[in-house]
Assembly symmetry: C2
């Protein structure tokens, strides 16, 4: 099937004089999850992972994806003739380098410019400079071949009252316009959906797991132009819009509007968060300032209301996970449970929590060796049955009116090897060590990463991902600018960890074909002592779910590690018992009892 | 006196139409130590610290220096009318910002362009752009007012045989020219003295503690032009020069030669390591490529011969320090010892070591609260007498034909407070924790710094300097590009830690008016396990001197910290006993006996 589709695509490419066609995985906003409408890459490759770019030439096809998906991609691409390019591995070229080596002078590279970020597009331009390459970005060549393509999603937007947002749109606009002034920009083009939702205090439902509406914002000195599908507008929103100088325009008119606008000053653009087509239009029509969206850093620092609502919802969310683990431990091996039904059970517990909107990402439920795939997705036809042995890794979270959650626990269901216990214990040590960090203001995630990773590096093990990511408030579960990782992509901005930033803390061990372990708490940065040496910072924990004692071997711990675990568990019991049934409480008491040093 | 000199300078500035005159502390090569000839800033300010820049206006004078010197500068500037600007402190402008705020449109800024790096000069140009400021850099206005100015130093150079350098100049030139090719440069201007010495396998004696000759190198596709004072040339060197395509030119002709050269390709320049005057000449005459000197990274990775000679000399150097500590502990309070005579005793022990050339920096011998000043220098008139109480911090090192050493120990001489013990113990934990780091290849010092610093951050204490610096081989004791620190100056390159890099590891505690603690070992990066997760790296230790058990309180240690200390001490005893007298050996045995967990 994939081969037939590629044949059609190549035929069409030939007609249009395109030699290589690139299909990334993206909507027009660089969202993390893409609606079915945007799954053009999946349609042409068969690879279902969330990250991947297909490059099609007349005598080759290649799929680039990252370490999370190597195993999955290998399986899904088998027999398709599509070559797998393992990103970041030694000797594997990235796409610009690959194209530079394979495209010939005078040839044409095609892609739908709305699905390619400005940064990526410019990088391609730079790489292919001097080779007389035409870049054809105006048309969705591949997407147009998809006959039964789904419609663009369009759901009504909701307006958050100030007791939920914690800050009015008016105040946010003031700060944003202040920052634009500093940058010398009269206009701000907002294409990143969570930034726009945050600024407007609205939410939508057009992207799976992200409560955002497909829309663009164009901020002028007087107005905010909102480009959105008319079906998404409610009477309440129309009223809100008129109070807040929001001018509503049709989503499909965005390009035409921006192409015809009369600019009287510079436009602030975030190269990494705008698509190539809009970039081409704006940079052609106006002088541009290339900076991060000023909204990004503002959104990352949660206000007091956001934080206090998050604290509360994390307790309720933790309770759902505790109930789930308690149920799972009791029933594994007794009734038929698969990776999928386990996830459904947990998802069901979340749905019962008042204020539940959606999952914050599809629950990862990975049994035994499946857990070695970091972003494994259990499928109905292949979901593993869970028995009273090995471990189940469950990474999950919810979107609630109180915030966005994210938590991972790896649950022991039977006998596990001493090696697995060692790995599990080291992961626990690292997670708690990072949580307990005291550090001077000015540190970025790059300074702190080793606190979580070092217990694993000590035994020659690494996890091929960052340790932590920012977390939104009723927004994306992955949010910038903060990030805890030991190295950054070249040129990537490293954000200082600010008070009020919410960050995940999730070291892990992934042994292909054997087991996967991840323990993830969510932490909040706050100010500690300030003295002559500077402002010290530390973290509070939001997540209160026991870490499986059955996989802890204190032989690998220092006394301080055991103390940290015991004191965390004491907090878990103290805070969580009130959310539980008598039976669950008894189980939790047992699960959180102190370990001996 | 300082005030008279400033008056004369201001008079001369007026004559030449200069409104602000800047006097940095630098020779023409950005060397760390400057010969008396170059101490113009000291002459005009009275401040004797090694780092500082004086800015003189017609109605102000300001001295900028770093945290190491705040206390010393306060004392030395008292009554001079010169304002102290504490660099890096909140609200303190750097010099370009200060000038931007204080210089007026159309005014003139003066400095001797040979004492200002190209980078600094360009930064000043950038800051003052659009203000119509004339920059007068061609004349040494202040230096010319110094009537009894010493002569430029000029000592004979020596050539290192290959059994000492480990690699011929011919081979080094091949690699350097290879790197120049990659950068598209036909010429390399080498102004940094240790880089030039390394490349040529020669050493000199024109800079205190740095075995380098005042010289410039200009590498063309065929020749290496060496600009050097004629007095420095020996018959042996003339012979070496003719074999190695070295063309000798007079040091004072450098500017004239470069101004008149017929360039047929690009010149590679290191902006941070060339003076502003040469930069102006070269960028005027030729197209320039601005990159780090290719020699810097090559020099930092020691070859096998260099490493094996360093290992050996570090043992002998450690023996001198052990003998010193043994003597000091025995005699403190019994005979009259001052900070200075203690340093002289240690320096004397080093001088007896075969191959001794010089100290690698002036020995820091700081008693009690003086140790809170990181780079304290004891002066004859004020050196403290050492009694059988408190602690003496001694930071010292030697230049030998076997390498360059650097070591710090803080020695207990009597009762010390529990707080000091706590600080000392935390410093020890951090130093050993960094030494024991296992990390993936690709880490820079910024990833690792927290391993040394975290035990102190945990108790709300920071040290206002990096944790470690690169160390030369019979060259500068401070060497790039590697550095272990948690933050870098904006735009500063961060070097990946490579196998063969030699680095200091020196956390500390500095409590103004009370005490100072530093424990410094020198470590060498090497490859560890390589597996599917990558190439792991670790460190070997070169320094084998006991860490004072009298200041260790195991109450603040985890078992692993005690194990690390005990196993280090076991190695110290095992390796060092053969260098000692019977009495010293007995003392060392006691000083290295295991502590109980």
């Amino acid at each position: 099937m994939v081969q037939d589709r590629l044949t059609k695509l190549r035929y069409c490419m030939k007609e249009k004089g395109i030699d290589f066609y690139m299909i990334p995985t993206s909507d027009f906003h660089g969202s993390e999850y893409v609606d079915d409408y945007f799954k053009v890459r999946e349609y042409f490759s068969g690879f279902t992972g969330s990250n991947g770019t297909l490059v099609v030439g007349h005598d080759m096809a290649g799929l680039w994806t990252d370490g999370r998906y190597f195993i999955q991609a290998e399986n899904e691409l088998a027999g398709s003739g599509i070559e797998l390019f393992r990103m970041m591995e030694e000797g594997v070229p990235d796409i610009p380098d690959f194209l530079k080596e394979n495209i010939k002078n005078g040839q044409t590279l095609g892609f739908d410019g709305r699905t390619v970020s400005c940064k990526e597009g410019k990088e391609l331009e730079r790489k292919l400079k001097g080779m007389n390459i035409r870049i054809s970005y105006e048309e969705d060549v591949a997407g147009n071949l998809w006959q039964e393509r789904p419609f663009l999603p369009a759901h009504e937007v909701i307006v958050l009252p100030e007791e939920i947002s914690g800050q009015s749109m008016e105040e946010k606009l003031l700060t944003v316009r202040e920052k634009m002034k500093t940058s010398g920009a009269a206009y701000l083009m907002l294409s990143k959906l969570d930034d726009l939702m945050w600024l407007m205090n609205i939410r939508g439902n057009d992207v799976a797991c992200n409560p955002v509406a497909l829309s663009y914002g164009f901020l002028t000195p007087e107005e905010l132009y909102l480009f959105i599908q008319p079906q998404e507008i409610t009477a309440k929103f129309t009223e809100y819009a008129s109070k807040n100088h929001i001018v509503i325009e049709d989503y499909e008119n965005t390009e035409r509007f921006l192409g015809g606008y009369d600019y009287e000053g510079k436009v602030l653009l975030d190269e990494g968060n705008i698509n190539y087509t809009l970039y081409k239009i704006l940079s052609d029509k106006a002088e541009c300032v290339f900076e991060s969206n000023p909204t990004e850093a503002l959104k990352a620092v949660k206000n007091k209301i956001e934080l206090s609502r998050m604290e509360e919802i994390y307790l309720k969310d933790s309770a759902a996970v505790i109930k789930f683990i308690c149920w799972l431990k009791k029933n594994a091996g007794k009734e038929k449970i698969t990776e999928l039904t386990a996830a459904e059970y947990l998802d069901g517990l979340r749905r019962e929590i008042p204020g539940f909107l959606d999952l914050s990402f599809p629950t990862i439920s990975a049994y035994k060796e499946n857990a070695a795939m970091m972003h494994y997705e259990a499928l109905p036809e292949s979901a593993k049955e869970i028995k009273a042995e090995g471990m189940l890794l469950v990474d999950s979270g919810g979107q609630y009116m109180g915030g966005t959650t994210d938590v991972t626990r790896t649950v022991v269901l039977g006998e596990i090897s001493p090696e697995i216990k060692k790995h599990f214990t080291k992961v626990t040590i690292g997670m708690l060590q990072l949580t307990q960090a005291r550090f001077l203001y000015g540190c970025t995630g790059r300074n702190l990463d080793i606190l979580a990773r070092q217990p694993l590096w000590d035994i020659g093990i690494d996890y091929k991902c960052g340790t932590g990511h920012g977390i939104g408030y009723i927004l994306n579960v992955h949010e910038g600018p903060q990030s805890i990782r030991w190295r950054f992509a070249k040129g990537a901005a490293e954000a200082i960890i600010e008070e009020g930033m919410v960050i995940s803390n999730e070291p892990g061990v992934y042994i292909e074909g054997s087991h996967g372990i991840r323990t993830e708490n969510v932490i909040v940065a706050k100010k500690g002592e300030k003295n002559a040496d500077g402002q010290f910072m530390c973290f509070d924990t939001l997540t209160f779910v026991p870490i499986d004692r059955d996989a802890i071997d204190t032989e690998f711990m220092q006394p301080i590690d055991v103390e940290r675990l015991n004191s965390y568990h004491a907090e878990v019991y103290k805070r969580m018992k009130k959310y539980l049934t008598e039976e669950e409480e008894a189980w939790l008491k047992e699960a959180t009892r102190p370990m001996e040093i």
